[in-house]
């Protein structure tokens, strides 16, 4: 009996493994992914990066250019996340089960957040390119919309987790909606909300590169410029600057998180 159970378990995991292998195989056929070619390409890529992908002296002269673009990108990422957080908080209040005003408003705000979140930031960038052209605003709005969608969901979950009991208690004392929100919900959830905003800024800096390549603005644009001009030394410097700024942002937000909680 026990032997039978073990045997069945083994058979079950074998079947699951087999299904996964079949799915992977089908996916390889559909995408024309060649496993041998990819195995060959990894050492080739390493050799290429060691011999070509490092900043040299002429790349260092481009530091001022890169710095001004990086600054623009960082400010766009921060502005998008901060402004989006204000809108997201309002929508989260209406959408959260704990603080919803009425059913219809809750459904609408949840639906809006859902649509905004599930369309990738790259698509927003492509759509906004039509009306804002190659300006910082395109990047800003693309990141804003994506941040808004994500933050609304994150804030909603935070309010749901934090608020339930205290909101009920305040409601029983006859407190108004405004005082429930500003005296209980907001103060209790603020560290968590800021933590999400900081996370969003990190994500935005990463996506800003992608958005920049698509829309021709910020740090992504200057990378694309060097990359397409085969100036790989300068391009590597851009990558280095992005990595450093992301690591520094991560470090700062970890510090803030530890100090807050």
């Amino acid at each position: 009996m026990k032997h039978d159970l073990l045997y069945r378990k083994k058979a079950q995991s074998l079947v699951i493994l087999l299904i996964l292998v079949v799915i992977a195989y089908l996916a390889m056929i559909i995408t024309q992914f060649n496993i041998f070619q990819s195995l060959v390409s990894i050492p080739k890529a390493i050799v290429w990066s060691v011999t070509n992908f490092y900043p040299n002296a002429s790349a260092l002269t481009k530091i001022p250019d890169i710095w001004s673009r990086l600054q623009e990108t960082l400010l766009i990422s921060i502005a998008a996340a901060s402004v989006a957080s204000v809108f997201a908080f309002v929508f989260a209040l209406f959408g959260s089960r704990v603080t919803e005003v009425n059913r219809i408003l809750a459904l609408i705000s949840r639906f809006v957040a859902n649509v905004f979140r599930n369309i990738d930031v790259s698509i927003w960038a492509l759509v906004l390119l039509f009306s804002f052209g190659q300006s910082s605003l395109t990047g800003y709005f693309a990141l804003f919309v994506a941040s808004f969608g994500f933050l609304t969901r994150a804030f909603m979950e935070t309010i749901d987790e934090v608020g339930a009991d205290s909101v009920e208690a305040l409601r029983a004392t006859g407190a108004s909606y405004a005082s429930i929100v500003f005296q209980a919900v907001l103060p209790m959830s603020v560290p968590q909300l800021i933590s999400w905003v900081l996370f969003m800024i990190e994500t935005n800096i990463r996506s800003a590169t992608l958005v920049g390549i698509l829309t021709g603005s910020g740090i992504g644009f200057i990378f694309d410029l060097y990359y397409k001009g085969m100036d790989y030394h300068s391009a590597s410097l851009v990558v280095l600057s992005i990595v450093l700024s992301i690591l520094i942002t991560e470090w700062i937000s970890n510090y803030v998180r530890r100090a807050m909680l």
Partner: protein, 284 residues
């Protein structure tokens, strides 16, 4: 927690009614940090708006144009350069890119996470792997893909390998954290029985954290679908993102962008529904 001012009127010995008002809100370190953070974010946002490169774009005109574009996109979707079946095929390519990336990432992350988990390896190895993974994550995915594209050429090989880096990094972190949650006693008991390290891993560690590993992997798959769309657009990786990019940058066809956006939206919502369901099941 440090309190800046704590003396209440009762302790000072003065008449409580003439004494100063009691401070209800204390300025603790955490409150100070919160205020400073909000202030900094507000200042940087303001600075951003003042220094943005507007290139003569009128803000309100742009917003109005965007709204009318949205109307075209969401109300009048139509196919032009791609057929309905063609779009489904492209969608399958994007999904397959996501699947391959997730599976490749999961397999490599499984081994890396064993070295990253503090209770399974030693402190130094764990720290090295975790730092390495953090640095990998600091390079945006699109840059990984483009760097690989130089030597492997644009296409699915560069896309899958480049996209796998972030999956590996993300899943290594997630897996190793769920390994670390495991009860120390189980491992000690097995060690006491003379079980080898691999036996402990395969018989105790992985079975007990399998459910959370599966949920993390599926969540990553959801993310990877979005990444695959983006890589199709930005790095020529093929799939539905590439069609979107062509419509936006060459054909200027908003109607077709709308149709494609609906396709992507539906798949993304199904995936999100799936991962929410899986998360609920695991939490319960």
């Amino acid at each position: 927690m440090k309190m800046i001012r704590t003396a209440g009127p009762a302790l000072t010995g003065r008449d409580p009614f003439t004494a100063k008002r009691i401070r209800i809100k204390l300025l603790t370190r955490s409150a100070l940090v919160i205020r400073m953070t909000i202030l900094m974010l507000a200042l940087l946002t303001l600075l951003g708006f003042l220094t943005f490169n507007y290139q003569g774009v009128n803000f309100f005109k742009g917003v109005a144009a965007t709204l009318s574009n949205f109307k075209v996109i969401f109300i009048q979707p139509a196919f032009a350069h791609v057929t309905f079946q063609g779009a489904i095929g492209e969608l399958l390519i994007t999904l397959s890119l996501g699947i391959l990336t997730t599976l490749l990432g999961a397999v490599i992350a499984l081994f890396l996470s064993l070295f990253a988990a503090k209770n399974l390896s030693n402190r130094m190895t764990s720290n090295i792997v975790k730092e390495l993974v953090a640095i990998i994550r600091a390079v945006p995915t699109v840059l990984w893909v483009l760097i690989f594209a130089v030597s492997a050429g644009l296409g699915s090989v560069a896309a899958v390998i480049g996209m796998s880096f972030h999956s590996i990094s993300y899943l290594t972190k997630a897996y190793s954290e769920s390994f670390e949650e495991m009860d120390r006693g189980t491992i000690e008991a097995l060690e006491g029985c003379g079980a080898s390290w691999w036996q402990i891993v395969w018989q105790a560690v992985i079975p007990s954290s399998l459910t959370s590993m599966i949920s993390w992997t599926f969540i990553r798959f959801e993310v990877n679908f979005g990444v695959a769309v983006a890589m199709g657009a930005a790095a020529g990786a093929g799939g539905i993102g590439y069609d979107m990019f062509m419509d936006s940058s060459y054909y200027y066809n908003l109607h077709e962008m709308g149709a494609i956006a609906y396709f992507i939206l539906i798949v993304a919502m199904i995936l999100e529904y799936g991962s929410v369901k899986i998360k609920d099941k695991i939490r319960a």
